[in-house]
């Protein structure tokens, strides 16, 4: 596989970007819900 770099790179970029975004969303979620009382969260 000569093009291995590009191929692996594509998967890395795609899954990496999603992972980074997911991490940031979860961190932001933690910050936002830290001070919120239970009743303000309609999903629980």
């Amino acid at each position: 596989m000569e093009d291995a770099g590009f191929i692996v790179g594509s998967y890395a970029v795609a899954l990496g970007a999603i992972a980074v975004y997911a991490w940031r969303v979860l961190a932001r979620a933690r910050r936002a819900t830290a001070d919120l009382p239970e009743d303000a969260k309609p999903w629980t």
């Binding site: 596989m1 979620a29 936002a32 919120l36 999903w43």
Partner: protein, 247 residues
């Protein structure tokens, strides 16, 4: 007090499935699926690129529909606005991934990173348009103002897309010789290749739903925090005013 998060048992199950899907995608995309006759190994990129593109378009459709519902429904429930915003953000993410993986695939297949053909050009246009949409959401003001502004912008974008697509198609049809010389971009997929693509789509769809749910709940939490902050500030101001009067 339970650990602060936007997760529930359902979302944890969803997240688990998504990770499982990603694992399958890696296994099939990078391992089990065969190489293509014409495109050799570069076809593997398509197992990531095509699902990413589909989910990006789906995300923008969701944004448009949610914006419409917010604007034209009687209740103007902000949940729709938050769904529109969350979906647009995830859509921009997937659109970026589509463009980058597309460029890498193009480099392998065509020898160039970019082609000014109708599809790519319209995709790039969409990407920039929704970045603009996200910028409009950050203009500030009340939640309702944000919701109404971005809903209008989203619907204008929807109006705009067929116009752009049409004009770019017409424009690129002038340059037929360029596409004739290039090897066909369409890949005939069968059996294991189609299955790998399917795995990719399922995995990305699970990821999309998981991301949108968490992003939207985070927005709801942030909006609620802001409302409380505002209430607290107003209450403090009122208390201040009465004490001044008395004193």
């Amino acid at each position: 007090m339970t650990t602060p998060s936007t997760g529930t048992r359902a979302t944890r199950a969803l997240g688990g499935s998504a990770l499982g899907g990603v694992g399958w995608l890696l296994a099939f995309g990078l391992g089990f699926s065969p190489s293509d006759r014409n495109q050799a190994e570069s076809v593997r990129i398509l197992y990531v690129h095509v699902p990413s593109a589909w989910l990006a378009y789906l995300a923008f459709v969701v944004t448009a529909v949610a914006s419409g519902v917010y604007l034209f429904s009687k209740r103007h429930a902000l949940g729709w606005d938050r769904l529109a915003g969350a979906s647009a953000e995830v859509g921009v993410l997937f659109m970026g991934i589509t463009l980058v993986t597309g460029m890498l695939w193009g480099r392998l297949t065509w020898g160039v990173f970019w082609e000014w053909d109708a599809r790519l050009t319209t995709t790039a246009f969409l990407f920039v348009t929704y970045i603009g949409y996200l910028a409009v959401r950050r203009l500030g003001g009340t939640h309702e103002q944000r919701a109404r502004r971005s809903a209008v912008i989203a619907l204008l974008a929807v109006l705009e897309i067929p116009l752009v697509h049409w004009s770019v198609r017409l424009w690129r049809s002038l340059h037929q010789e360029a596409t004739v010389l290039r090897p066909d971009g369409e890949v005939k997929m069968d059996g294991l290749m189609l299955f790998s693509l399917f795995v990719g789509i399922v995995a990305f769809t699970l990821l999309y739903v998981w991301l949108v749910i968490h992003r939207q709940r985070t927005m709801a939490a942030e909006d609620a925090l802001e409302d409380r902050g505002l209430d607290a500030a107003l209450a403090a101001r009122r208390a201040e005013a009465t004490t001044v009067e008395v004193g």
